[in-house]
Point group: D2
Chain length 374, copies 4
């Protein structure tokens, strides 16, 4: 720090960046693809997917079933894509049947890309990416598969190569347990190939410029070096714990939250177990109550930040995030805060019931310590 010049052009910077990018591929579970890191956010990754591979007027198949899936659809329209959107009841995920029907009819392969929001944060819904890939494969449909993995990569099972994901978008602030500030984007060889025919302008988030410099261990413009160092530490934590252990931990912690929801007599916004997200739970308040009252009480009375209902579920749900560097007592702390806030908001339930249900789940499901690395 004493001599504050640009050191991202230092002779030994590649010794840092090359293993970092190689290890990111392990987190995304891709061998043939690349992972790029841009200063930006997950939203920037959405833009990268579109602007690098498509042309204005290209047809894309999308589904909106929550705030984040819908915003990506909006972005497609802003880029003048021809959007075929499935409007899905919030609480459900990507509609495999509708996707199947639309793609079946698309014998001319006009659909150039299919979009999936893997984990919709607004409703706590996880979609079936592998199922979408199966449909594409069964039909021999060549469309690119774009996946928003912002709140899934590094937290729940994600398999870029096995699922044939062409652009996988993530960010630093969820599974990587870091501050916001990085767009992390996995790109398949097929997507890199698609860049050649794309005509949308792409500069800041351009894959080929990034790839060219990455190959030498550098970046085409000033990288967010401090965040890259944090990313190194984050990847090390994930790999030390082992991805299967990370996923199992999230699943077990999420089951405790769901047990609490049941014990409170409330309903999960996710409409069925197949949609349950292991990283965030959106909870419906009873009729006649406003979820914002719970959120305000939690924040102002107890210093707890609950997620608010976004878009269509505003006022109907509050959300508990449960991902990243998290253990049982941290979940209990959040559940305890929710209990106090619900009492302040006038919702009736037996105090301690939710925490107690989670306590029981955690003690029953406790495993001998596993020390496996990936």
């Amino acid at each position: 720090m004493n001599v504050p010049l640009e050191d991202h052009r230092a002779p030994d910077f590649p010794e840092f960046t090359r293993p970092l990018l190689a290890d990111l591929k392990k987190i995304f579970r891709t061998e043939s693809g690349r992972v790029f890191v841009f200063p930006g956010s997950g939203t920037g990754g959405w833009e990268a997917a579109i602007s690098n591979t498509l042309c204005a007027g290209d047809k894309v198949l999308t589904a909106s079933f929550g705030q984040f899936s819908s915003l990506w659809v909006d972005m497609c329209r802003a880029f003048n894509l021809d959007v075929v959107n499935c409007d899905v009841t919030w609480g459900h995920g990507v509609p495999l049947d509708e996707y199947q029907a639309i793609l079946e009819k698309d014998t001319s392969h006009a659909v150039k890309a299919v979009l999936v929001c893997h984990n919709e944060t607004a409703t706590g819904v996880t979609s079936d990416v592998a199922g979408v890939r199966r449909i594409l494969n069964d039909l021999g449909h060549p469309a690119l598969l774009f996946v928003d993995g912002v709140s899934s990569v590094g937290s729940i099972d994600f398999r870029m190569d096995e699922w044939g994901v062409d652009v996988a978008v993530s960010g630093s602030q969820k599974g990587f347990m870091m501050p916001t500030g990085l767009s992390i984007v996995g790109v398949s060889l097929k997507a890199l190939k698609a860049c050649e025919s794309a005509t949308l302008p792409s500069s800041y988030f351009n894959f080929h410029e990034m790839m060219k410099m990455n190959e030498q261990g550098y970046f085409p413009y000033t990288p967010a070096a401090t965040l890259l160092r944090a990313l190194r530490a984050s990847i090390d934590m994930l790999m030390d714990e082992g991805l299967p252990n990370v996923f199992a931990r999230h699943h077990r912690l999420a089951n405790g939250v769901r047990a609490a929801v049941d014990a409170w007599g409330l309903r999960n916004c996710a409409a069925g177990p197949q949609w349950h997200s292991d990283t965030v739970t959106a909870i419906l308040v009873p009729d006649g109550f406003n979820a914002n009252d719970v959120i305000q009480a939690a924040y102002h009375n107890y210093g707890v930040s609950l997620g608010g209902g976004l878009g269509k579920v505003a006022g109907k749900v509050f959300r508990i995030g449960h991902l990243g560097w998290l253990n049982e007592t941290m979940v209990l702390q959040a559940l305890g805060g929710v209990e106090m806030a619900m009492i302040d908001a006038g919702i009736e339930f037996q105090a301690g019931a939710g925490v107690g249900a989670a306590v029981q789940h955690y003690t029953k499901s406790r495993q001998p310590l596993t020390l496996a690395a990936e």
Copy 2:
């Protein structure tokens, strides 16, 4: 940091130390006394009290009713003092009756100092310092009053001048919410006067050397400057919240813990409400159980550090600390951890009952936000 020389001799260092020491007096609630800060721990403060003011062979009146009160008595013996000790059942505090009886008989004023452990951490017992002062005053007894306030100053009501405390010992790691590393010692004019006739050797913890240099804004030897800066921040936090608010917050949080203990069907080690500590609760496990099983389960299974039973209560109690920078949900987190650990240790109770009782207490006792400063 670039030029790493001693800066505790910098020309403007007094501008930092003078208000720091002045504000410490407000925390100790003394106007006429001094507060000194040594690199050390609370144990060093015990030694400072003894070595500065007494002579080998001096008679002191003490009470042992827990690990920490007993260790101070041991130290008195190591300094060859003539110790008159009241051996009190653990769970009780300073025995006012016994103290009264002994001091009444001491018409020659052979007792030079009376020791009180204000808040015995091992048993979660708070003693009545004002009561001891009343006895001394009623008898016109000139003995010095030494108080161990390591886990009380800055957390529960402590009044050095009003209670006539001559040496008040504290440390950085409890009410000051800092790492261990500072002995913080309040000294009355009467105690400073007593230094003149003291013959025990005193150098490192010497009050007069410290006072002489403090008056110029410096220290007689290298101070722990980083900890002093942290102490500045700590004092600011206490004064911003306002000491009465700090004490009220600790009392309310502690009541939640006690409600949980009741709901679990367990007993507090403190033998009656008059002894209840607002900064730590020692909880007796049922007969036939080993408290260490709870502690081991909490630590190894859930990453929660409970205090162990020390000395006579080893295996019988585990302790929950609840002081410093703490709010409701942090207490609930600890209680949730205790519930899981008790289940693992085989103790029967209704899961969630303790957390639920605390949740109820906190929601019922919630005040409109107070913004008062001291």
Copy 3:
């Protein structure tokens, strides 16, 4: 951190963002314009300027005289703009005469934007933004004025309103003394108006989406909250010192560097005093030497990161950055490192001459401490 949910949607987040954005306007010296903050880098700000306000095929007037000015020109071409570029000898700045000549002939006002790189880091050259504005005004030419102020805003005199800058691009990692990670973009009312007719796709860096949410104190997508908090601290530092004092400090420190260059018998890459940058100095090595040898020696032998020669000046110059939180001894440290590295690289000069010249400059030019705030 205990309950790690999105808090950038917290009820009181606007209390943080509104004064932050208001104070940024003071740093950019604009009252009528807006300042937007995106997760990204300065390069993202370049893209924001183009994509928000222009249409494919629009004519823009540019000048390339260094690596960074040239890269922005490349980006204009990537967006299919019709670029009229002045190819200037590196070491000079924006060619006012050529700009004047071209704009004079453009009576149809085909030129939609004029680009200026205020401070070209590759050559250590500062250009005359006010001069460009004068030309536009004298001709009554309505083109937008875009300025790359990445290494000038907050370090050297920059006046958005007075100079009629329509889009001013900056980043977090230079004058704001922060890690890379934020695009900070000043936008005039005229530029906001131009957005309406722009047809280039713009989503991530969209001004109007940002403005709409900023007005409510929020962001259209997850902001880089930790960097925003650092930005708050950075702005406070700049305002505490006072911008005129900040600029004067940079000027004085830069004069010391230039005195050292003279004393070494070397030449500044900037071709004349009017081009001298107060934030970075590029130094030409004598004929027959390779600047990379100096850079490698500095890095590997002494841990000093010098800037390398980029593009046309690769191997010919090394660069010393001198901006941000910097004082005299930090400059001397860098100059000392350069002296050692030059000796290792075989360049002849009197050891200590450069540092001595700077020492003399700093002692002669020392002012009584100024305490003025802006």
Copy 4:
């Protein structure tokens, strides 16, 4: 931090403390002795040496030749020891001849301990500890050998076993590159044995209490856990670099400082090369000048903290510390600051001469990178 209870009694705390204490023995170069760590400062270590091993009235042989050596002598008197002190001209070190003469005459072995300040910070003088050991051995004198190694251990060659040091006192804030806050004390078996007959009261700094608990991996009272963690990092740094490399680095850096002093035409307070300290240099200002003017100018004009003249050399010397985590450019920064301050104080010399001399020394003496570990 979520559950802020005492974790220095955690079941796995010994896994941290045992290797820490074992590695400290490597730094002190002792196999048979112990190293103890107290919350405190180096001054506390002096007290530990005295109070653990001696009786009131014991004869000790000391030498005062600077502020710190003199203060230790004062402490001996405060403990009512019978002090035989050699008053040495400041700038010289321990007088081997005088020590030899006194010990020779002491055929009754009345002298119980011999004190040596290894590295006198006030004058920048290193004494010959091995020489004192030789005298004791040659005479077969059984006195304990106490060494103040506060500013030598971990920075310059120190060999506890080989030199037969019985109590070696150090602190955290010098060679260990940490904040002040720890007394680190090496104790030989002979010194531990001497504790048995010692009658001075010893409690806080008691060796046997500490040893008893350390053997189980714990401490007799609350340790400064955060500082212990920093100490772990510090030891790792020293061992990674390798002690011989650390010493060589300090020697080479110090030679650069001494070259600068010569080039300025000034004199080193250390009266001859055999006394030159590799961790601090005290520089005599010319007659007619006040060293405090240099110190004030450095501090107020350039933010550089120089050490002031202490005791007999007040006003005559200023000091440059050069130990710890330090490289060439950091020394050059300090030397540049000194040059500016000397000019402001009116001292005449050629600006840049000192820095230039150091630059020449560092470039000439540069070694190929050594990667050896100890």
